[in-house]
């Protein structure tokens, strides 16, 4: 597996290498800054991006100047642990992290309850009279419990604060560790002296509530991560390769080379992008495109790596090795986007660092002030200030929402390739849709407009299909579905630019332009549109040939309009065809005959006029136009993903998903705003109360944990599918489909 991880997450040429790895131990913005500084200072590093929310670092560097081990060493020297991303190891590391966290929380919780009992006795004893010997005994017992809680459960705070200080950075662990050390130190001294207040209950409660808050954060973060890791891990451990002598051999997916023939049994996952050798196969690509129904593939079609064979067993021929297959590209893109931090988050990080400094200074000021007024209250008030402030909510507000939104979108089939794209998507107010390949499937559709001399529509289509059978003209594909084994054309001749001629059922037919058909005899048909089928007896049928609208195109356009976006069609095709598609979709503005540079100029003009354009194209022919728009989306097939010119890649080629995604992006923006507002309001309200001595230190611990929890949970709402009717239906499948999901 470690080899595959290298392939999937490290890609290198002679002068430019790219790697994504996970960095353990980052807790806040300050940590991510020190990691990126540690890596960025190395020679030859072109770009480094570190994300706390996903615990990842992405590095582009020149392998001639710095090696990967040197980068790992630099991160280790800064006080963090580097681990390559890989399925099995990552999940066992996650399990270890989770277990350690649970043990810490458990110990802190049990210790907290016990010390609270002792302290209650002391309080009660204080008012009712208590034997000083027993009081001292209870204090010592409290110390016995608080000590292991502090050193075992509280260790992460001290380790975090220590590595922050060593790097001369201020993270959110610094005030927490300071508060813990002060409270514990003062209590121990007072216990040994035999007089004065003790805060063992506050110490254990701090630790318990803070750990509980972090545990939920950990759980949410791990859930977001596991969506990408599920992709990377979806590949089978081994695959049956058909050898030249006809035998099969089990090999690792990484060993598969282009041209290898593979045997995929029912229910198995196709390991690499491969061509289908069998006549047909049913596969499910839900992992890649979010489309959950099975797709019928015919001989020669590409079966994507990561799709599940739900039909009978098939033979395929590998087209590309694992690391070049679409799945690997998707994983790489997701890694890259989730590791980068949106611009908004970077701003919040800088504020958070100042925030900690101000907190510590403020706590010091509060302590000094209370010392003059009432010395006994100086320590509790300072502790409350240190603990109640919550820079974590501030620095988590944006990345948590972003990670949840990208995860959600990836599941529904939309890949975000740039971190700021979602923000721009949320603001878009004009959609420019390319026609061919975007609104239309690119495959022409034929319709019978009229029949003459008693020919049935079905017969007309069958005769036409027989005539067009050998032709490779694009229009011929429209007739393919109507080919019948009973009707075969003989003596077929093609006339370039005019049509075809052939004999079907003993009669000579022509199919093509009206004047060409009319040469056989009979009348010229009056409507010259589309194709004409005729024989010596005259015109038999006329056809209209149009680009087929994609499924759901109409629905998608109306959804986009509901979202308040203006819809425009810009096509390179005949203006008449563009307007026709526009009419079908109720789009007034439909332009045709636009060359790529005219499309570019069109988008620029609209942008200058103040519109924020969302350009949707097929991603191959309109790269510059996509780049000019404020946000761009490509309907991508396997090849286009590697190029990734667009901000967003629509993997399932369904425009309805795009409309949904705009909704999600707007929700994300709303959630970020709520989160930032909340953390600002919370801190503004809590700090003065704590400084005034109105908040007990343990209440402060609850306040801080709840505040960062609220932010994370609010963001996690985004990862859930919307409660629209179809989404809910998908969530509650009938018994049969549920079983099919569990045991594909």
């Amino acid at each position: 597996m470690s080899d595959s991880a290298q392939h999937a997450f490290y890609s290198g040429a002679d002068d430019a290498a790219h790697a994504v790895f996970s960095v353990e131990g980052m807790r806040c913005a300050a940590c991510s800054r020190s990691v990126s500084r540690a890596i960025g200072d190395l020679p030859g590093v072109a770009r480094v991006s570190v994300n706390v929310a996903t615990q990842r670092a992405v590095v582009d560097w020149d392998p001639g100047k710095t090696t990967l081990p040197q980068i790992c060493a630099a991160v280790a020297a800064a006080g963090f642990k580097v681990a390559p991303l890989e399925g099995a190891a990552a999940s066992s590391r996650r399990r270890a992290e989770r277990r350690a966290a649970l043990k810490r929380i458990g110990l802190a919780g049990l210790g907290m309850m016990q010390t609270m009992m002792f302290v209650y006795c002391l309080y009660a004893g204080g008012s009712h009279g208590i034997d000083s010997g027993i009081a001292q005994y209870l204090k010592v017992a409290g110390m016995l419990i608080a000590t292991p809680v502090l050193w075992y459960s509280g260790a992460p705070f001290f380790r975090g604060a220590w590595s922050d200080l060593r790097r001369r950075a201020l993270g959110m662990d610094v005030p927490v560790a300071l508060a813990l050390a002060l409270a514990y130190g003062a209590s121990v001294i007072n216990t040994l002296r035999g007089t004065g207040e003790i805060y063992f209950d506050s110490v254990t409660m701090f630790i318990f509530f803070l750990l509980a808050g972090r545990f939920v954060e950990l759980a949410v973060r791990q859930r977001n991560l596991s969506a990408t890791e599920a992709l990377a891990r979806s590949l089978p451990a081994s695959v049956a390769r058909l050898e030249a002598d006809g035998s099969t051999r089990r090999v690792a997916p990484e060993q598969v080379r282009a041209g290898d023939r593979l045997w995929i049994p029912k229910g198995a996952v196709v390991p690499v992008d491969a061509g289908l050798i069998e006549a047909e196969a049913r596969v499910q690509e839900s992992l890649l495109t979010g489309e959950s129904s099975a797709i019928l593939k015919r001989a020669g079609a590409t079966v994507l790596g990561g799709s599940v064979n739900v039909g009978h067993a098939i033979k395929v021929e590998a087209l590309r090795p694992v690391e070049d297959s679409m799945l690997a590209h998707i994983v790489r893109l997701l890694e890259r986007t989730q590791a980068e931090r949106p611009t908004m988050a970077r701003g919040a990080d800088r504020i958070a660092a100042w925030f900690v400094l101000v907190t510590v200074a403020l706590a010091l000021g509060v302590a000094v002030l209370w010392w003059w007024i009432e010395p006994a209250r100086a320590l509790p008030a300072a502790l409350a200030v240190l603990v109640v402030t919550c820079p974590c909510a501030l620095s988590l507000a944006t990345p948590a929402a972003f990670a949840a939104a990208t995860t959600r979108l990836a599941k529904s089939g939309l890949l975000v390739t740039r971190p700021d794209a979602l923000e721009r998507l949320a603001r878009a107010d004009l959609v420019v849709l390319d026609k061919t390949g975007t609104l239309t499937s690119g495959a022409p559709v034929v319709q019978v407009t009229s029949t003459h001399s008693g020919l049935s529509r079905a017969d007309a289509l069958q005769i036409a299909a027989a005539l067009e059978f050998v032709s490779d003209h694009p229009i011929a594909t429209a007739f393919r579905p109507f080919v019948s084994p009973d009707r075969v054309a003989v003596a077929i001749r093609e006339f370039a630019g005019k049509g075809v001629e052939g004999t079907v059922d003993g009669r000579l037919w022509r199919l093509g332009r009206a004047d060409f058909v009319a040469q056989l005899g009979g009348d010229r048909p009056d409507d010259s549109a589309g194709g004409v089928l005729g024989s010596a007896a005259g015109v038999a049928a006329t056809f209209a040939i149009s680009d087929g609208l994609r499924d759901g195109a109409k629905n998608a356009v109306s959804q986009l309009r509901e979202l308040g976006l203006q819809v425009v069609i810009a096509s390179g095709d005949d203006p008449k065809v563009a307007r026709d598609v526009g009419r079908q979709l109720d789009v007034q503005e439909a332009y045709g005959h636009l060359k790529p540079e005219e499309k570019l100029a069109f988008v620029r003009r609209r942008e200058e006029a103040g519109a924020r354009v969302l350009m949707v194209g097929d991603g191959i022919n309109d790269g510059p136009v996509l780049a000019a728009a404020s946000v761009s989306c490509a309907l991508a097939d396997g090849s286009a993903i590697a190029q990734a010119a667009a901000d967003l890649l629509l993997l399932n080629e369904s425009l309805t998903t795009l409309a949904q995604s705009i909704r999600t992006a707007r929700q994300m923006r709303g959630v970020i705003r709520q989160n930032l507002t909340w953390s600002l309001l919370y801190n503004l309200a809590a700090v003065p109360l704590a400084a005034a001595g109105w908040i007990a230190p343990w209440v402060a611990a609850i306040g801080m944990s709840t505040s960062s929890l609220l932010v994370v949970l609010n963001a996690a709402r985004l990862a859930r599918p919307q409660a629209s009717v179809p989404a809910r239906r998908r969530r509650l499948p009938g018994p049969k489909s549920f079983l099919a999901e569990v045991h594909p």
Binding site: R98, R99, G111, L138, A141, K266, V742
Partner: protein
């Protein structure tokens, strides 16, 4: 009143026992997967393929 001097250490021993039991449960993997444990109920014992 002197019974307190005996009961408190006894409480601490019980606390130690509870902590030990929790650590054992976590280490033996009982909390590793909280979601899927409820699922097998809905599945048949064997799935025909």
């Amino acid at each position: 009143m002197n019974i307190v001097f005996l009961l408190i250490p006894l409480g601490l021993v019980l606390l130690g026992g509870a902590v030990w039991a929790l650590f054992w449960a976590v280490d033996s993997g009982q909390y590793d997967n909280m979601e899927d444990a409820s699922r097998p109920v809905l599945e048949p014992d064997e799935t025909p393929h």
